[in-house]
Amino acid sequence: MRRAATRKAGQPNSTSVNSSAVDLFRSASSRASTKELERIDSLFYSYANASSGLIDPEGIESLCSDMEVNHTDVRILMLAWKMKSEKQGYFNLEEWRTGLKSLRADTVSKLKKALPDLEKEVRRPSNFVDFYSYAFRYCLTEEKQKSIDIESICELLDLVLGSQFHHQVNAFVEYLKIQSDYKVINMDQWMGFFRFCNEISFPDLSNYDSELAWPLILDNFVEWLQAKQS
């Protein structure tokens, strides 16, 4: 009993030693991070629109050109995801800080260098689902908007999935353009297509089971593909 008590008593002691070391380290790093934060903020203001206090589409374009990246590049969408940006075409200070801090970038060149790592991070399966659904939400610009028109969906699909599921995306885009049942795509259908790409062997579709409650649009898509193949 006694021994147990001593052991218990010993513990806080050791942590206090540890914590003091951590504190020391923290205070040092916090000093560094304040400086970094200042640099991140000043970078923000160099692109922000003075009147709105936001980086607007214009600002984003000039940021892109400084990084020598096209503004329609998927990596910009990834950057928006990293910043958890809510409004398409705009970054606010809060979002900018979140994004750049976690990318450990406080200059344009650092940011540019961080992009390949960012892409790797996004491509990790655990993140990619989140990014994929984010991409859809990011495009909902209107209040209460729940679906996106076919034309935009086709572009977005190509952007986010095109490199990974080239054939599936091409076929689906072709189908979307000739069918007339759907004018818009909703989140459920959007996520359904991603699952489809991941789970269904393409182009033979051998493991597609329409009993499995796929969104109807995918049933129709598969039917169309099969008709086309035969």
Binding site: S147, D188, L212, A213, W214, P215, L216, D219
Partner: protein
Amino acid sequence: MSAQKKRNFQIEAFKHRVVVDPKYAEKTWKILEHAIHEIYNHNASGLSFEELYRNAYNMVLHKFGEKLYSGLVNTMSFHLKEISKGIEAAQGELFLVELNRKWADHNKALQMIRDILMYMDRTFIPSTHKTPVHELGLNLWRDVVIHSSKTQTRLRDTLLELVYMERSGEVINRGLMRNIIKMLMDLGSSVYQEDFEKHFLDVSADFYRLESQQFIESCDCGDYLKKAERRLNEEIERVSHYLDARSEPKITSVVEKEMIESHMQRLVHMENSGLVNMFVDDKYEDLGRMYNLFRRVPSGLSIVRDVMTSYIRDTGKQLVTDPDRLKDPVDYVQRLLDLKDKYDKVISLAFNNDKTFQNALNSSFEYFINLNARSPEFISLFVDDKLRRGLRGVSEEDIEIVLDKVMMLFRYLQEKDVFEKYYKQHLAKRLLSGKTVSDDAERSLIVKLKTECGYQFTSKLEGMFTDMKTSQDTMQGFYARFGTELGEGPTLVVQVLTTGSWPTQASTTCNLPPEILGICEKFKSYYLGTHTGRRLSWQTNMGSADLKATFGKGQKHELNVSTYQMCVLMLFNNADRLSYRDIEQATEIPAVDLKRCLQSLACVKGRNVLRKEPMSKDIAEDDAFFFNDKFTSKLYKVKIGTVVAQRESEPENQETRQRVEEDRKPQIEAAIVRIMKARRVLDHNNIVTEVTKQLQSRFLPNPVVIKKRIESLIEREFLERDKEDRKLYRYLA
């Protein structure tokens, strides 16, 4: 103590030495043996039963039971051998007679012997486990007489020969036959079975196999069945006359197997006389015979049922898909009813009201009625026709019969909601034009629909009746108040229809003639005065009018016309010639309706109160119209119908379909939500099944449509997909 020996004394029983004459046993047996001989020789009258009994008793008592028993066996065997020889010697027909006679003798003798040896039977035999006297006698008869090498097969062949002769129509001595069979049965059921029944069944099977083959080659199905039935009855009769009752199921199953089971398919499908021909020719007797015979064999009825089902399905399918039939909906439904009547009659007269056949009939109707998407419409049109004129002068009971039949067809419909749509439309027309023959019949049908489909289904239909009644009261009130004031002007009858209860019609109004407008306005203010907060709008496309008209030579007619037609005709009070454009402008009747109404006023012979230039069947937009002075008619009252297709045109049909589909959406969604609210989590297929089950009393929802509704509910966040299992949906409260 231990040294002292204990002695037990035993008192021995007194040995009573019975000195018996050493020859006693032999002597006594001789007496008995002699008696047995005498019995077999029919000389028993001189024997003393008392003496013989005592002798036998004494022999057993003096431990000569064994001698007595073996002596009996030997003596009896000896006599039976003699008898057997006699029987074997009998010629021809006398064989059975002799056998029968000797059997009777043996039985009599056996009875006496048993009586004499009663004491042995009671004491010696049970203690030595020997066969009792009577049984011994039977066994010896069996072994010595029946199973003698010469008799055994001869007996069997003789019996079978007699059966064969009887089957071939000859008369045999059934009494003798019965006695012989009875003998075999008395000898033990195994004797009957082994020596007769087994062979009897084999021979019968061969006989019927051969005979059925001959019949089926030479007879038609009906005759064959008659013959089979007769044979079956003959066999049953045979059993009752001279065979063991337990043989009946065996022999009938032989006949059933050989005559029916082996030929079922061929019989049912027999060309020109098979089952289908029996249906076509209404051969109830043959059908009944087939039913009764086929039910005796396994799967017999299912063959009949399957053929019936597929035949009804084919006939029904032909009926409902025949384009000619689509031209006359009333005839179409009448034919369906006739078809149903026909098979109802078959099932009740010939098929013993068999439930499985009724079910087959029902499922067949359900199958083909729904092949034609217009069946609901046509059934409603049939009712419409009956309630408009078909039931006039028909007794109340007959009306009920017709309505019940309609309800039966209604039950087969999968799309009951489509029927409801049409029924509502047709009922509205009947009510508004006052064309319904019997209010009771109308209500009776509504009650039937209500019991079938519930309150919801008929609430709106009932609302229509209420409206009619209320309108009557309202009109009475109106005239009570303004009657004198209105004087000689036109009489107005208004039916106030509650929105929602009546079929929705595009509200197309037209300009009413000034003569009418006044009283209309008066009514409107009267009505709104008593019912505040309501809105009245005139449905001029649904009304009708009676006009008094005077023609060229002063002849007067009363014209029964629609409101539109009235509007047009009233214009001719002030003009003799009006162009199409004039009329269109003055009345503002929609072009389609105006053309129809002008067509019926100017182009129908005998109803042409207007004249058209140029003369043609169709109305063109640059036509001119004149009041037809020369109009004549034999009748005072002239009814000018509007040219309307009774059944819907293709585009109208499409429109109704679409409306039905739209109406189904909320019902499907409500069902999904109800189910999910109760189950919280459910997989796709189960939702589809449950929704279908919930809605099937009204219609059969398409699984794809259900899926669409589910997706819509997901989008509106009533449901979500499970994160792991794609098949599952979760209810979001």
